[in-house]
Amino acid sequence: MRQPDGSSALLTTKLDAMLAWARKNSLWPLPFGTACCAIEFMSTVSSHYDLARFGAEVVRFSPRQSDMMIVAGTITDKMAPVVKRIYDQMAEPKYVVSMGACACTGGFYRAYHVVQGVDEFIPVDVYVPGCPPTPEALIGGILKLQQLIQSGETQYDRLKA
């Protein structure tokens, strides 16, 4: 910080706050894309919407290298064990964005083979409504997650405390 007389001064903060600031601005998404929402996720990371503006463009398909799982699409009972396994494999701290009506609640598939919301078996931080949500809505969800990370209110923070 620059003082009025031109000399510099230190900025003090808590280590937790600094870590949270770093984490929220370098989220590495793991797109668990299964259906229509995955196509909108592709639009979100493409040139037009450019998720890089929010520091979350480094898409990784390995759970070991990512900290934000975006569940984009319908999760069926057949897929559920796979989602759980991949979530378990992610290194902590980890966050989950549930993208779209199906991942949030099963959507309009109230049916014999569809999980009625991924929060049946993994903790979810942000629910993004829409069928599918527009890229703007997904970006809005990621910004919301950034706020939660900064204020220490994510599911991960809660489970740790």
């Binding site: 259906a35 069926t76 057949k78 559920a80 064990p81 396994r85 014999y112 083979h113 569809v114």
Partner: protein, 567 residues
């Protein structure tokens, strides 16, 4: 679309070529199909004759499905849909069977395509196919109990699958002592970037060469057909959007056309032309996703951005028409949901000028690129006979040299009035599929240009109020319109009892809807004939002898869309 009048009294011209036709019921159905009802002891004989007699020549098996009629004497019915590409006729074979012994002999020995269709009928309807090489569940999971499409199955009854129960092929544990070296088993997917999220392939590798492969699907089985039985005819349209979500407009239009056919109505001319324009734009988007993703999978990332930019512009058009970008739900039975925006023509003309640049850029970058050609030429090649035996249609079949395109072969929506070429390649490999899709984008632009030049004025939805809601202004002012509105909302569209199979050219091939109505406000049964399903079942057989890296190049060139594959 012209509606053929029922003509069941005239003798069917194909009947005399069938073995023992005196004892078979052979009629001409209202949807133009030759309908044969056969006993199960005769079915293989009949099916074989249908394929082998040169006068019948049904070389393409479109679909096999089961139907449940709990109140009938014979509870189940197995329905085969066939067509002859040369002769153009279409045949439906119906086989009634009893509840206590739901078995029919398999048709796998006649058409390879029967394999997965029969497995699906077993999985969802519980019909056994005697002699089938691998009759296990296909769409639902391993711990699933019962058969979901039977009428007595509760649509919401779920079963939990644990990780320990997930499918592993038998041959994984078998010792393989054919080769000199030890082989290795690799599982690819379902969560793998190249499998687009929901496909799973288990392969056995000898070095880097695949010696055996098996696919597992159903990871996105979200019960479209059961859901459609619990909703009204009009409410099914949003579900159709989510079949092939890369080109949702085409699905909705295909469904609306099929229902309109059963109702004996036609959408107004303006709606038909708008449907053509938006369907062709959807085809362009679908091909753009396929090509963009396929090029990413072989390491050419730039093209992905080149293809996604024009997609965004098409989305803008769809959004201004329908309000949604991806899943538009714009088609309605009898027309369209609403009038197109005032600047529709301007937007379409802008896109016609905008898209070719990106297509040409990709063409210049990729088509003669040595690396790309090295990765795709001769990779995943299939002969025309093989492709037909597997039930392929669409760009993948045309890449094998068969010029079969429903827009040309059985025109609908006035496609006979447009000038366009059906691009065909000869080699049937991944490179040929790339070339065909790229050229189809250009042909679609040609169709759109002709359509926008002749966009008629007029309403976009039928004024038949048994089908379409009256305009709001009338609902608020006229008693009769209010009653129509009320009846239609409460009771839904009443489709006359009967059945029809109607197909349109989807982005991946023949997208057929087999609809059965009992005259009520809800569909009795809807069977979708998804083009991907037939295409993907050939995939494990295409892999043998290829490198594991080629498996990815082949998969992405087939453009398997899970929503449509698993429904």
């Amino acid at each position: 679309m012209t509606v053929s009048k029922p003509d069941t009294l005239a003798p069917n011209p194909l009947a005399k070529f069938l073995p023992g036709h005196e004892e078979l019921s052979v009629t001409t159905a209202t949807d133009g199909f030759t309908e044969i009802t056969a006993d199960r002891s005769r079915v293989i004989q009949v099916l074989r004759a249908l394929r082998d007699r040169p006068e019948l020549d049904c070389n393409l098996l479109l679909d096999v499905c089961g139907v449940d009629y709990p109140k009938n004497e014979h509870r189940f019915e197995v329905v085969y849909h066939l067509t002859s590409l040369e002769k153009g006729h279409r045949v439906r074979v119906r086989v009634p069977i009893d509840e206590d012994d739901p078995r029919v002999p398999t048709a796998c020995g006649i058409w390879k395509a029967a394999d997965w269709f029969e497995r699906e009928a077993w999985d969802l309807m519980g019909i056994r196919f005697d002699g089938h090489p691998n009759l296990r569940r296909i769409l639902t999971h391993e711990a699933f109990q019962g058969h979901a499409l039977r009428k007595d199955y509760d649509p919401e009854k779920r079963w939990v699958l644990t990780e320990a129960e997930t499918f592993v092929p038998d041959w994984v544990t078998e010792p393989d002592d054919e080769g000199e070296f030890e082989t290795q088993i690799i599982n690819i997917g379902p969560s793998h970037p190249a499998t687009h999220g929901t496909l799973r392939i288990v392969v056995r590798l000898d070095g880097e060469v695949i010696t055996k492969a098996e696919c597992e699907i159903g990871y996105l089985h979200r019960c479209f057909e059961k859901m459609s039985e619990t909703h009204g005819w009009g409410e099914v349209i949003p579900y159709t959007d989510r079949l092939n979500y890369c080109s949702s407009m085409i699905n909705g239009v295909g469904y609306a056309l099929a229902v309109e056919h059963m109702l004996g109505i036609e959408a107004p001319p303006r709606a038909q032309v708008v449907r053509v324009i938006l369907s062709e734009f959807s085809r362009i988007m679908d091909h753009a996703v396929c090509l963009g993703a396929a090029l990413v999978d072989v390491g050419a990332l730039t093209n992905f951005w080149y293809f996604f930019q024009p997609r965004e512009e098409i989305y803008t058009l769809l959004e201004s028409c329908a309000g949604g970008r991806l899943t538009v739900s714009y088609a309605r039975i009898g027309g369209l949901a609403q009038e197109v925006p005032a600047d529709f023509e301007e937007q379409v003309r802008y896109l016609l000028g905008y898209i070719p640049k990106f297509v040409n850029d990709v063409d210049k970058l990729v088509t003669t690129n040595r690396i790309f050609r090295g990765r795709t030429e001769g990779v995943g090649a299939l002969s025309a006979e093989e492709a037909l035996a597997w039930g392929w249609t669409g760009p993948c079949l045309r890449a094998c040299g068969v010029p079969y395109d429903l827009r040309r072969a059985r025109p609908y929506l006035g496609y006979e009035n447009y000038e366009f070429d059906v691009p065909v390649a000869s080699t049937g490999d991944s490179y040929a599929r790339y070339l065909v899709r790229l050229e189809e984008i250009r042909q679609s632009l040609r169709i759109i240009e002709q359509a926008i030049n002749h966009l008629p004025d007029g309403p976009v939805i039928t004024d038949n109020h048994h089908v379409a809601l009256p305009p709001k202004s009338k609902v608020y002012t006229e008693m009769e319109a209010l009653i129509w509105h009320f009846k239609l909302i409460y009771e839904g569209i009443k489709v006359p009892a009967g059945s029809a199979y109607l197909a349109t050219e989807g982005a991946n091939g023949e997208l057929g809807y087999y609809l059965i109505s009992d005259g009520g406000g809800k569909p009795y049964r809807i069977k979708v004939r998804p083009p991907c399903f037939a295409i993907f079942q050939a995939y494990p057989h295409m892999l043998e002898g290829h490198l594991v890296a080629d498996a990815i190049a082949i998969l992405s060139s087939l453009n398997i869309i899970a929503g449509e594959l698993d429904r």
